[in-house]
């Protein structure tokens, strides 16, 4: 009896193992690892550019053994056809779990990106936390840029974005976030990188409304955007102070957005509190209290101006890319359900106050009268 039971148990285990074991799993070297996907629209066709490391060629190189990357291009009338064209050129199945960046050309953004993101959602191995960027440059320009530290363009984009994000200079969303925005038909911003003077550079934000391109903000005009959307943002500004100019490092200390719904109108009270560190003056002078006050006032006015411009821009193009809908929804869920948010947002009133504390640091001289230091 015991032997029968043992045999039954063994049979059950063996059957379970054989039937549910992942026998079709492929080792990492049996896949074509993709590090960058660039998606473009050429005429009526979709074009995929996949950056794939050539493992054996990299090994043969006697120098560093670093991988050599190939660009595989697939074009088709549909995404499926374009992908098939890619597959037809690869000796191993394409593995999208290694993709570091997804780059969308502005042509595709204008056409609409929803189908691509729906497609992405069905691919279980596609990395969801990859950075999404847009570009105004053509794929040829992008793939001809000089890479600084990486031999892979995917890594170059990822590293650049990560560095800017970590140093508090950038607002970025992942593919998963973008998919959620598309599903909810929200407005959002996507970092834009272009080929500039043969190099790849972050130069602003593409504004997307749902799955379509809605505008562009240059990096120089994106100050208000990052203050309102970013976390731990650190920026430096050149602040005019009389005949001199002060270089100031600014951090957002607190950001309070209090929505109100008054007489059928949406009102946002935005209180921004900044701390600023005086780094240096453009001339060899010590800063006195009065001058510090001037710099502080100028700074507050500059920051207020940035915020107002951003809010006005978002209202003008009817895109709530500052995600204020979420703040309002939390406070007034019932009202929000009944509102036509795009028009309510365009008609919304904003009360923006900016306070800044200036730390003159070692530049402060209590007895100085704006005199030069010998």
């Amino acid at each position: 009896m015991a032997a029968k039971r043992a045999a039954f148990l063994a049979l059950a285990i063996i059957t379970a193992v054989i039937s549910s074991g992942c026998w079709d799993a492929l080792d990492i070297n049996k896949k074509s690892l993709c590090t960058l996907v660039l998606t473009d629209r050429a005429g009526d066709n979709f074009v995929f550019y996949a950056e794939v490391p050539n493992l054996t060629l990299g090994q043969q190189q006697e120098t560093s053994g670093a991988a050599h990357y190939d660009i595989v291009v697939g074009e088709g009338t549909t995404y499926t056809n374009a992908r098939r064209a890619i597959n037809n050129q690869l000796d191993k199945p394409l593995f999208l779990g290694t993709v570091r960046a997804l780059m969308l050309t502005d042509k595709l953004a204008k056409y609409g990106v929803e189908e691509y993101f729906y497609r992405m959602q069905t691919m279980v191995d596609y990395r969801r936390v990859l950075e999404v960027v847009t570009t105004h440059s053509s794929p040829e320009e992008i793939f001809s840029v000089k890479l600084e530290n990486n031999v892979s363009l995917g890594y170059e984009i990822d590293d650049t974005i990560t560095t800017l994000k970590d140093t508090g200079k950038l607002v970025i969303y992942t593919a998963s976030d973008v998919l959620n925005f598309i599903y909810a038909d929200r407005s959002y911003v996507v970092a834009n990188m272009d080929a500039v003077n043969g190099r790849l550079a972050f130069n602003g934000y593409t504004i997307m409304k749902g799955s379509h391109y809605a505008g562009f903000i240059h990096v120089d005009d994106a100050g208000g955007l990052v203050w309102l959307l970013g976390r731990n943002i650190v920026h430096t500004r050149a602040v005019p102070a009389g005949e001199y100019t002060a270089a100031v490092e600014i951090k957002c200390k607190s950001r309070k957005i209090r929505p109100q719904y008054v007489s059928g109108q949406v009102v946002f009270n935005i209180d921004m509190d900044f701390t600023a560190q005086l780094m240096y003056m453009n001339d060899n002078i010590s800063v006195d209290k009065k001058q510090a006050e001037v710099i502080k006032n100028e700074l507050q006015s500059m920051l207020l101006d940035e915020l107002v411009k951003t809010v006005q821009h978002s209202q003008a193009i009817g895109c709530d890319y500052l995600e204020l809908w979420d703040v309002f929804r939390i406070h007034y869920p019932g009202v929000y359900r009944q509102l036509d948010w795009p028009s309510a947002y365009q008609n919304a009133a904003f009360n923006i106050t900016v306070t800044a504390e200036l730390d003159p640091g070692g530049m402060m001289d209590m007895e100085a009268q704006g005199r030069k230091v010998s």
Binding site: V17, S20, G21, C22, W23, A25, L26, D27, I28, N29, K31, L33, T35, P53, L55, T56, G58, Q59, G65, A67, F95, G97, T98, R100, D125, R127, G154, Y155, D158
Partner: protein, 486 residues
């Protein structure tokens, strides 16, 4: 002539008929005889001549001698006793005792002049220490007991002598502090030793197999100790030490899982260094167990769990390897085990040669030929080296075997299979107990104080013995008063 001891000749005949390789020496006194029986190989013959034969020859030969006379006023030997149970004579002689049998007295004398070939106390081989004492246990039970007695001169130290084996009657010493050790543990160990019914035991390893709670348990439930200072340390902790004549290893019980990771140097070093080393051993044990399986999981299933740069580097390293990750890992693990096993069994000089051959053939040639990737060599080497870090090597044995189960499960189901086996191992660990003490104590059941002290330990800062040992006296020393308390 009528002998007073009518059995005298009969006993001698009986002993002779057994061909026990005894030496018999007869001395005549008055109307009777004294027969000296001993085994030459087990007896100190100089002492026999000086302390027994010489005094007997020099005493008054005109009178009949009795056992009491001889013990009280003739022989010089210090350890002697009188007995009447003649059925035990053969056993005494075979144990190395010298027996004086009297034709005119039914009592006989047993003299301890035992001298067996024994090893000198040497430096420990398996548990090397930097700062600790260097004397290790030897095969001779008396020598081992003397080492322990020398360190623990305390009247509460109990040494219960037991015998095991139908044929060889091995001497076993159960040692414990009467006022510290848990009496149930002591009773249980003595009960299990008493219940052993076997022809004979030759080492403490065999004895250990009879003392386990469960014969099919994966994990060692008793510690083995090579050094006398560690045996003494265990006794002071309230544990029971079992010594067996003929074995240089002491058994210690109870011993919980975390204690297998402790080294004797932990007690002699700065607490911060000891803590660092203990954490290092925990990491090493885990590395030895899981690193090769994680390699399989990452290479075959969860490539995206790695940072992309590593992923491409791994793929590149494996680009020309003909084997799948699982076969590669199994091959190298097996080769590693073969080299390890061969190195243990051969002399050091040959072992070095095997090590070099193994390293060159496997390390360089196999990678150059593209049979294995360089990364797998790093992984398996890390696993092998880590397996030597835990202080008590016996704890690594089950993990060495379970590692293959983990590799296979991971190869079949990825991290899901990996997790299943880890859960199985943890279940096994927490359901094991060592003489009534939970094996995973103080982690399961969780006792914060003991758990902290099992990692960060120093004698001055730890006045209490661990709660899980259930000792009769749980204080090692005075408990310092709380600072700042009212």
């Amino acid at each position: 002539m009528q002998r007073k001891n009518k059995q005298f000749e009969e006993i001698l005949r009986r002993i002779r008929s057994k061909s026990m390789d005894l030496t018999e020496r007869r001395l005549r006194f008055g109307s009777g005889m004294v027969a000296i029986l001993y085994v030459r190989q087990l007896t100190d013959r100089v002492a026999l001549a000086e302390q027994v034969i010489k005094p007997l020859m020099e005493c008054d030969k005109s009178r009949d001698l009795t056992a009491a006379d001889v013990v009280e006023s003739v022989i010089f030997a210090d350890d002697c006793q009188i007995s009447t149970d003649t059925s035990q004579i053969e056993r005494h002689v075979l144990e190395g005792m010298t027996v004086l049998l009297f034709s005119e007295d039914s009592q006989y004398v047993i003299i301890n002049l035992k001298q067996v070939e024994k090893r000198n106390t040497t430096e420990p081989v398996m548990t090397y220490t930097v700062r600790g004492p260097r004397d290790s246990l030897v095969e001779n039970l008396d020598s081992n007991l003397s080492l322990i007695r020398y360190r623990l001169q305390c009247e509460a130290l109990r040494i219960d002598m037991l015998r095991v084996g139908r044929r060889n009657h091995s001497k076993i010493a159960v040692i414990y502090f009467e006022d510290i050790a848990n009496s149930q543990t002591v009773a249980e160990i003595k009960k299990r030793i008493g219940a052993i019914d076997v022809d004979g035991l030759s080492s403490s390893g065999e004895l250990q197999a009879y003392l386990l709670n469960s014969r099919i348990s994966l994990f060692p439930q008793m510690g083995i100790v090579e050094r006398s200072d560690m045996a003494c340390g265990a006794l002071l902790e309230g544990k029971v030490v079992v010594l067996m004549d003929g074995s240089p290893w002491a058994l210690v019980a109870p011993k919980v899982f975390s204690e297998f990771l402790w080294s004797c140097d932990d007690f002699y070093q700065n607490r911060f260094i000891s803590t660092f080393n203990r954490i290092l051993r925990i990491i090493s044990l885990n590395l030895a167990f899981i690193v090769s399986s994680l390699y399989v999981a990452v290479v075959s299933y969860h490539s995206d769990a790695l940072p992309g740069a590593y992923m491409i580097a791994i793929a590149q390293a494996r680009a020309n390897v003909p084997f799948s990750a699982i076969l590669e890992v199994l091959f190298i693990e097996l080769i590693g085990e073969i080299i390890r096993e061969s190195l243990i069994r051969v002399p050091t000089k040959i072992g070095t040669a095997i090590g070099i051959v193994g390293a060159i053939i496997i390390g360089q040639a196999a990678v150059a030929a593209g049979v294995f990737s360089p990364l797998i060599l790093i992984v398996i080497s890390l696993s092998l080296i880590s397996s030597f870090v835990p202080a008590d090597y016996t704890i690594m044995d089950p993990f060495r075997v379970l590692k293959y189960l983990l590799i296979l499960a991971t190869a079949m189901f990825g991290l899901y299979g990996f997790t299943l086996v880890i859960i199985f191992v943890i279940t096994q660990l927490v359901s094991t107990n060592t003489f009534g003490t939970p094996y995973m104590a103080p982690v399961a059941p969780f006792k914060l104080r003991d758990a902290i002290k099992s990692i960060i330990y120093s004698k001055p800062s730890t006045p209490l013995r661990p709660e899980f040992l259930r000792t009769r006296d749980n204080t090692r020393g005075p408990i310092p008063p709380r600072q700042g308390g009212s």
